[in-house]
């Protein structure tokens, strides 16, 4: 039994380290900030997940399992929130993603060229007043449709 757990631990920890390295290499080789976020999400999800499961099979103490579960839940939730905030702050700051144009060449394309309404939304984000006003109108229209 302990041999199986040791082999499982080796495999999982090596996989976790491999995915952490993949994410870090991608962080250095990707061309712009949005593709770099794609690379770090690999090490933030697969790398952390494999490492934590690899550590969990190496112990029989249930308090350690609880702590590892807390770490992985906090990292998964906060990683998604931080990535979303980072992308939104970058777009709001005028950072333009590299996209392929009609000829296939990579050019920095502003969102307002692709989706005019979306570009305006990014340039002038909704204030909490507008959000509060728009919520009741959605609720009024929803029952009439159904």
């Amino acid at each position: 039994m302990s041999v199986i757990l040791d082999v499982l631990g080796w495999v999982l920890l090596c996989a976790g380290g491999f995915f952490c390295l993949i994410g870090a290499i991608g962080l250095n080789r990707m061309p712009d900030v949005f593709t770099r976020m794609h690379a770090t999400s690999v090490s933030d999800t697969l790398g952390v997940g494999f490492l934590v499961v690899g550590m969990a099979v190496q112990t029989t103490d249930w308090t350690v399992w609880v702590r590892l579960a807390i770490i992985v839940i906090v990292l998964y939730i906060t990683g998604a929130v931080a990535s979303h905030a980072l992308a939104r702050a970058a777009l709001h700051d005028g950072e333009k993603p590299l996209l392929a144009n009609a000829e296939g060449a990579l050019v920095k394309t502003g969102c307002e060229e692709l989706y005019p309404e979306l570009g305006v939304r990014i340039a002038t984000p909704l204030t909490s007043e507008q959000v509060r006003q728009s919520v009741p109108s959605d609720e009024e229209t929803a029952p009439s449709n159904s």
Binding site: L13, F18, L21, A24, L27, N28, T59, A82, A85, T127
Partner: protein, 96 residues
């Protein structure tokens, strides 16, 4: 086996430090700092298992919460130009 994982995590951290130093925009540096924080949590947990002292996991939990707060605070500063929220008028146009 924990040593192998620690070496991989340390190598990843050094690559992330390289991106934090080279990063052309502030967002690249922030992304690298966030990645370094996540890898530091994993390093703490793995070091705890290597020395058979699982109390290091508690430090990891604290680090995870601090890391998230720090990243969100800096991003809010970039977007709105201030950390507080002005309730008087909803006008919080970013300066940066």
């Amino acid at each position: 086996m924990f040593t192998v994982a620690i070496i991989a995590v340390l190598a990843s951290m050094s690559l992330a430090v390289a991106r934090a130093l080279l990063g052309p925009t502030a967002f690249d540096r922030l992304l690298a700092a966030n990645s370094i924080g996540t890898l530091a949590i994993m390093l703490l947990a793995l070091f705890g298992f290597l020395t058979e002292r699982p109390e290091f996991l508690d430090l990891g939990i604290t680090y995870a919460l601090l890391n998230m707060t720090g990243t969100l605070a800096v991003l809010k500063f970039f977007r709105y130009g201030a950390l507080g929220y002005d309730h008087a008028d909803g006008d919080t146009e970013g300066k940066g």
